[in-house]
Subunit: 387 residues, 2 copies
């Protein structure tokens, strides 16, 4: 930690040599890094309560605190964790004026608004423990010169696995059978009349980034007709390996699909993109899996389409807002298989994103670059997937 | 149907040229086939009631009756279907004395006991609409010279898909999250503390017949450590393709597995094979998926192990007996993901086994052999998987 203290910082961003200057790490020209003084780091995580002690690897919880408290404190930093994130009386709010680093997670999102950013005079770095930083006003963060970074890749496998689980749950009509069991009933017909095999069905992913690609790879042995829509075609090798076909026009793809999976980030362009009109153009009885973001769907349009049968089943772990209030209509619509936001926060995922956050903090303290793919906002610019 | 009528039949079995006599089909030496007279065919299926009219392809139900009524009756045969199968007052029982062909299904099993076989003086052919004929006393059927045949392959894909769904449901701890949603709750920690990725886990299948192999193929992209136990090693090509390793000793394999899937038929050897002692030797918190047969497990041992945490999760669609009574303890044990017997009776599966039953009846009427792999009991001998 014998780093030179930055006298001034033209922008408030974590900054150092650009990725195009390899070998400059640690050189005397790199002084726009974290100062060596004690930092105030705040983490906002979901509380585990009685579950905290049940698994020593439960590092993603408030109590687990990413497993970095000892490491941070041994270096003289202050580390405050809370789950209390909403409103002006919240614990988070108390620390906004003087925190240097804020660690948040999509699973219990602390909404970082333009107003909060304005009041966070010392804030330099926003780290997302996980993937998906749309709970942060990224434009405001960019304008303020903040750095925003995620642990890219930390839970792409988790989410892709979870999507395939949800596809199977919907296609095979798992939940009505489970309900029968716990209610003391037995009626095979009431399940079977709308239970199908996945084999032979047409599955389309809206977005074929890392998660979409991992899903397509896992779908391959199921002998489906695989389609994907994205801004650009995937590498020919992967297209060949998965057998997935590129669909340039979204609505044209959607009209062919028995099952649609949403794998695109929430942006101004994707907000509400599945509205009444678009859903009406899809196949009657289409099954939709959305582990991306709740606000990509028009909430009421989904409820109405599930009720009418236009959507045959809807499953996902993302809601608008989160936590979903008790009266969120998706809790009570027919043929859903919803859970709280969980897919990326398996124990395996937690261990990966905790390690990733620690690595970025370590690099921040040392004035080193993060892995290039982790940046969401850097030097005033948004990562391409958020444009 | 201009077939020669068999004057006598030394054995009561459907019989014709042996598979080793190709080209003899239809020759004058082949007279031990079905006589051309009207046959009484009885089918026992689950009743669909209000669900019958909701899907035109719902052929596996009592009302759907495999979609072969018109075809059978146009050829002068009598076709009776019922779901009433238990006890001496049942509809099935009325027809036992004079039926020629009995079609049953594992999803609503009509138990064909030695006693029923003795009273079924005209019975020649037992067809299972689906796979799994252990509801028939196969030794008694063999002794009586009956032919028993299944629609082999009709639902292997369905069952393998369903197994992978259940693996993911258990590993990823889906159901507690779903319960939170429908109960108006939101507690990510209560799910996450025991939610894992499938990636990197050790999965073993007990039995690697057709379903086990299809499961291994579907597991391949999940990057697990795949093991299998069977009487013989699979083809080197498939072993290479799936990356699965052969385990000669069952208990040795079980001790390594995070997840165990049962893919072996119910026989005298496998009945109760997962008893208290064997379960105790498995990994603490092991997840078990069993779509094979309920009686392979010791019912109470599973309940006790789920309660103690020795079994971390149990999922399957098979019970002992079926339908499971209201007070079956598996309905109420912790961390289960049970359904009624459904995995092989998807709409896709129904269409396949209905077509397979029709094909075998057609061959029976014409005095032709069945596909060799369909035979469970033929000329007094049991198929190898039931030995």
């Amino acid at each position: 930690m014998a780093m030179k203290r930055a006298a001034t910082s033209a922008i408030r961003a974590f900054s150092s040599s650009s990725p195009s200057s390899p070998g400059s790490s640690g050189s005397s020209t790199r002084f726009l890094h974290a100062s060596a003084e004690s930092k105030k780091i705040v983490g906002v995580f979901y509380k585990a309560n009685e579950y905290a002690s049940l698994n020593p690897n439960f590092v993603g919880s408030l109590e687990g605190a990413l497993g970095i408290r000892g490491w941070l404190e041994s270096q003289g930093h202050q580390y405050i964790v809370t789950d209390d994130k909403e409103g002006l009386d919240s614990e988070l709010e108390k620390h906004i004026p003087d925190l240097h680093v804020l660690i948040t997670t999509p699973f219990h999102p602390a909404y970082v608004t333009e107003e909060r950013i304005k009041r966070a005079k010392n804030l330099k770095l926003l780290l997302t423990a996980g993937i998906g930083s749309d709970h942060i006003d990224l434009k405001a963060a960019a304008a303020a010169g903040l750095t925003v970074a995620e642990v890219t890749g930390s839970n792409v496998v988790s989410v892709a696995e979870d999507e395939l689980m949800r596809i199977l749950i919907l296609v095979r009509n798992f939940l009505p059978g489970y309900h029968q069991v716990i209610n003391g009933e037995w009626n095979v017909a009431a399940i079977a009349y709308r239970a199908y095999d996945l084999e032979g069905k047409t599955v389309g992913t809206v977005g074929a980034g890392r998660i979409g690609k991992l899903l397509l790879q896992r779908l391959k042995p199921f002998n489906c007709n695989l389609l994907y829509h994205d801004r650009i075609k995937m590498e020919p090798e992967l297209e060949k390996q998965t057998g997935a076909k590129f669909e340039e026009d979204l609505d044209s793809m959607l009209s062919k699909c028995d099952i649609v999976v949403i794998n695109t980030p929430l942006t101004e362009k994707t907000r509400g993109m599945f509205d009444k009109e678009r859903i009406a153009k899809m196949k009657k009885g289409v099954l939709i899996v959305n582990n991306a973001r709740g606000a990509i769907m028009d909430t009421q349009a989904v409820v109405d389409a599930c009720s009418s049968g236009q959507i045959g089943g809807y499953s996902g772990d993302v809601w608008n807002p989160q936590p979903a209030p008790k009266d969120h209509p998706w809790r009570y619509m027919p043929n859903h298989a919803m859970t709280p936001h969980i897919s990326g926060t398996t124990i395996d995922g937690q261990l990966r994103y905790a390690a990733g956050v620690k690595d970025m903090l370590d690099r921040y303290f040392k004035g080193e670059e993060f892995p290039a793919q982790n940046y969401i906002v850097k030097e005033g610019k948004l990562a391409s997937q958020y444009l």
